[in-house]
Symmetry: C2
Subunit: 206 residues, 2 copies
Amino acid sequence: MPSLPEDSPDAAAEADGPRRRLPPEERREQIIDAAVRFFADVGLDGNTRDLAKRLGVTQSLIFRYFDSKQDLIEAVYGRVYLDRISPGWAALLRDRSRPVKERMTTFYREYGERIFDHDWMRIFMFSGLAGADLNRRYLDHLGRTLLLPMLDEIEAELGFAPSPEDLWNLHGGIVYIGIRKHIYQMPVPDDPYPGIERAIDRFLRV
Amino acid sequence: MPSLPEDSPDAAAEADGPRRRLPPEERREQIIDAAVRFFADVGLDGNTRDLAKRLGVTQSLIFRYFDSKQDLIEAVYGRVYLDRISPGWAALLRDRSRPVKERMTTFYREYGERIFDHDWMRIFMFSGLAGADLNRRYLDHLGRTLLLPMLDEIEAELGFAPSPEDLWNLHGGIVYIGIRKHIYQMPVPDDPYPGIERAIDRFLRV
DNA sequence: CCTTTAAATGAGCATTAGATCATCAAGATC
DNA sequence: GATCTTGATGATCTAATGCTCATTTAAAGG
């Protein structure tokens, strides 16, 4: 499939024809989308002029929609953290009609599909390094609503109880795949899920 | 033990008495030391004026010892990456007079002592996010000189061969302890080694 | 087609940050 | 104690960056 004609000159910025007026809500969303991508690439210190260039608008326009850069970053956090944890997972993990191993495998497959994502991984890391307590709140929530239940279910079905720390170890080993790929840009398997299943297997083996 | 009298006024900057002349080599080292700490705290975008303030010297002095900020960062990388991997570990892991499990436990105890470190963890992450290929080179080296031998040894002694990906999973679970602590500032056990041993245990169980 | 409104622009202000350099003075040498 | 070397300072230059605002103009309403 040949590249479309109109993106020939300078792929980065959208074709900068005459100035386009968008409904405020739409423009705002567009800016946030671009900002997520942009800050994920260059870090939260990335400057607003470069972001504007990517968007194909002027830098001052950004400040029409956000009071300050910090305000924009807050919106980026909102977008990126939004719905990262599916409300169905807690129920899935407690569904005793299925073996725990299967539940955990399903969970980590779905979880992986949400977090093995360039923008998420990097913004999560940037915001963690910046000291944002969103990270702590997120991981706290994850621990309370997903890992602790997992613990209970393992004990109920398999008769042994790993420590929370053990579960964090399993979890960390899985998340580390995304870190290697998106933070360190190391090669990782195209399909990480067989490896993840083996890790869960080892974890549940008595 | 009561605090010493001379650090009373403003603990951050060293007592700024009259200007002190240091031998160049000593001053250079002092700047690198402070820079490691400083950049680990605030990120590689931290500015040289704040760094100078911490050191208790003028900003321009930094540029007497380093051609550019990038040059200083390079020196910081050098300091931080230097000797992070002990040359003895490859031999330790291949020492067939001891059980692999014991070798791996010893290795990860010593490795943990070197990498569960605030400055290392954070600078490694900052440089990874910045795209420095030091991270890739470091992890490549780690994989080739330590993880692959581990694989061989496990196969030789226990008769089964995990995939490299499985070993990265073990490794990641361990490293994640440091990430939780130093990047996300989450609580982790004071003594992580029992948990690490259990992880190695699970990994080697047939 | 004309009017109106508000989305978008572009010039520019205030600060900050990397880098430079003439000048000062600590401390070694004689 | 006078001299000299060079480590350290402070003022400053330039470019970059967050943010503002008067002006322009796309597009909706009549």
